[in-house]
């Protein structure tokens, strides 16, 4: 009987095909491409900050303070005479950095917690998920506020605070598919083959639930950037004079009546990034699981 029912399947490899399917699905959702391109431009600008501006974001030029846009200062200057464009692009570095690092931390820790809870089940699951629910019951801004107020404002504490607020949703999003995947025969086969629990979790379950975690990540990145801006706005974020978008809005706020652009420029930057990230997240989510429609970070 040999290669009996083995007619050759499709010619190309599976990974390439999965990739193409993903791209096709993303294509169906045109807005996600707007998001992807926008984010690519923002990230490029942040990386190329030294090339894109000749000004030092910290350099004060008291004689040129509160100037409108000109050839010298593309977006004008603030009350210390610092170049707003320079502060904006360097601020992008810091805002994106804080957002990405804190969400990466939350993603890793949250997924580990959620997978462990879902995989082992029982009392452990109950205790872990109750704890997560308690954390989840605080709005992320309030929780962040509490942490930073206790530990003091610094980039490290800010990252810690944002990560802490984002861990519970990641734990939840990782737990649910783990519970369903662990019941599958192929996981039982792993147990029958004598694989260790960590191996089953990392090698066999994680790849099956990773897309969902990634979607959550892109949606929560937007939230993280918003929380960072909010905390900086009320003075609990990164200390001045380091430029961040939230800090810039606050500084500009004092001159909102006569020099509105000081606040408007960083506000628009935040708006663009949050919109773009949500577009990407929505697109990814539709690709991964149409059932999740409407789920949002925040």
């Amino acid at each position: 009987m040999s290669a009996a029912d083995a007619t050759a399947p499709a010619q190309d490899g599976g990974r390439a095909r999965a990739m193409r399917q993903m791209l096709r699905a993303l294509n169906a959702n045109k807005t996600s491409w707007v998001g992807i391109v926008t984010m690519a431009v923002v990230i490029l600008i942040a990386i190329l900050a030294p090339v894109l501006t000749s000004h030092d974001p910290l350099e004060q030029n008291i004689l040129d303070k509160l100037k409108g846009p000109s050839a010298e200062y593309v977006l004008g200057t603030d009350s210390y005479g610092r170049d707003i464009w320079a502060r904006l692009v360097y601020g992008a570095q810091i805002s994106l950095w804080i957002g990405t690092v804190s969400i990466a931390i939350a993603m890793i820790i949250g997924s580990i917690i959620g997978m462990i809870a879902g995989y082992f089940g029982g009392k452990l699951d109950l205790v872990i998920m109750q704890a997560m629910d308690v954390l989840l019951s605080f709005p992320s801004l309030i929780l962040g506020l509490m942490v930073v107020a206790m530990l003091g404002p610094s980039i490290g504490n800010l990252i810690f605070a944002i990560a802490l607020t984002a861990i519970p949703p990641f734990a939840r999003i990782a737990r649910a598919p783990t519970v369903s995947v662990k019941e599958r025969d192929y996981i039982e086969a792993c147990r029958a083959l004598g694989y260790s629990h960590p191996r089953i979790l990392v090698v066999h379950i994680l790849p099956n639930i990773f897309p969902e975690i990634l979607v959550m990540g892109s949606l929560w990145l937007a939230t993280a950037i918003r929380v960072e801006a909010s905390l900086s706005f009320i003075g609990l974020g990164v200390r001045p004079p380091t430029p961040t978008w939230g800090g810039m809005i606050r500084e500009g706020f004092e001159h909102i009546l006569d020099s509105a652009w000081l606040s408007i420029a960083p506000s628009i930057a935040i708006l663009i990034v949050v919109f773009a990230l949500n577009m990407i997240g929505d697109g990814l989510r539709d690709v991964v699981d149409p059932k999740l429609k409407g789920e949002r970070g925040g």
């Binding site: 009987m1 009996a4 029912d5 007619t7």
Partner: protein, 329 residues
């Protein structure tokens, strides 16, 4: 067959769109169903047996499929010509269908009594209480124990076998001329399957209806059918009265299929496996569709599609094969 057939299908071709192109899932189906006859459509998954039933019922999903050609004559009308309203009046009344999954075919939030009575109220102009009485009578007919007490129960309170009985009751409520049964016992345990098969045979006699019984299980088919049509890759490859077919399987596919079943009633040392698998409908071979898996194939088999022809000396046994039935070779 002196009497006119109840249902007559001629040249039925049903197509589905795959990757922007139309492919035939069922091609040139011809068969007649006599009064009070059970015709079994048998074949492996993807052979088109369920598609045939859905085509008759007018239930081919419009977005992806269509009845491209052919006539389905029933009570003097050609079913593909009917509009939606006329078809809805017919379905559940003159032609009824039961499905494989008794677990999902009933609405979980409505009582059994309501669901059976609803069929009657939709198709007959009768009062609620009258419909309820008739529903009770038909549930007793399908032998639901203490049916009166169970009328207000919900589907989840019934076992799989009992749910299938409820499905049968709903299908028979309006005393249809034709019942289409799509793998009605496949999801059931063998002892329950036997009960349901006996019940179906009894009811068919009592109501004088005709039945198209779709199954992949030749044992079940041998038990219930009067006539059998074996399907492969969207075509009937052989059809004959049930005794004749099992005594003299002629098409190489039918023969191979019979030899691939391990039997409970005798020790068969040899088990025959058919090499390869059914081709996907988007990549059907030229000529005879079974040729790539056939041990008897000759040059002509791969060039020309054989017609469904009567075997020598019979008027009821047909096979679609150049080697075993046609005049070639």
């Amino acid at each position: 067959m002196a009497e006119a057939p109840v249902l007559s299908v001629q040249g039925l071709t049903t197509e589905f769109r795959i990757g922007g192109q139309w492919h035939a899932a069922v091609r040139d189906m011809d068969f007649q169903l006599a009064r009070n006859e059970t015709l079994a459509l048998v074949g492996e998954s993807g052979c088109g047996k369920s598609i045939t039933a859905l085509s008759i019922m007018g239930l081919i999903p419009k977005a992806a499929g269509r009845v491209a050609r052919g006539r389905i004559e029933f009570e003097g009308r050609n079913l593909p010509d009917l509009d939606d309203l006329e078809m809805r009046k017919l379905r559940g009344d003159r032609i009824a269908m039961i499905f494989q999954e008794p677990m999902t075919s009933l609405n979980p939030v409505l009582t059994i009594g309501f669901q059976v009575a609803e069929v009657l109220r939709y198709h007959r102009d009768i009062s609620a209480s009258e419909a309820r009485e008739k529903a009770l009578a038909i549930l007793e007919e399908v032998k639901i124990p203490s049916a009166r007490q169970r009328l207000d129960d919900y589907p989840h309170q019934f076992s799989g076998g009992m749910r299938q009985r409820v499905m049968i009751a709903m299908a028979l409520a309006c005393q249809p001329q034709v019942l289409l049964a799509d793998e009605p016992t496949t999801a059931l345990d063998v002892t329950i399957q036997a009960q349901v098969l006996v019940l179906l045979a009894e009811l068919k006699q009592r109501f004088g209806m005709s039945m198209i019984f779709i199954s992949h299980n030749l044992g079940v088919v041998a038990t219930i059918a009067d006539r059998v049509a074996v399907m492969y890759a969207g075509e009937i490859v052989e059809t004959a009265p049930v005794g004749e077919l099992f005594d003299r399987p002629t098409h190489p596919y039918t023969e191979a299929l019979m030899r691939s079943i391990p039997r409970v009633d005798r020790t068969s040392a040899e088990l025959f496996a058919i090499p390869g698998q059914v081709p996907p409908i988007s990549r059907m071979p030229q000529g005879c569709r079974y040729a790539p898996r056939c041990g008897l194939k000759q040059a002509i088999c791969e060039q020309q599609s054989p017609p469904l022809e009567p075997l020598q000396g019979t008027a009821t046994h047909f096979a679609r094969c150049w080697v075993r039935a046609g005049g070639a070779a």
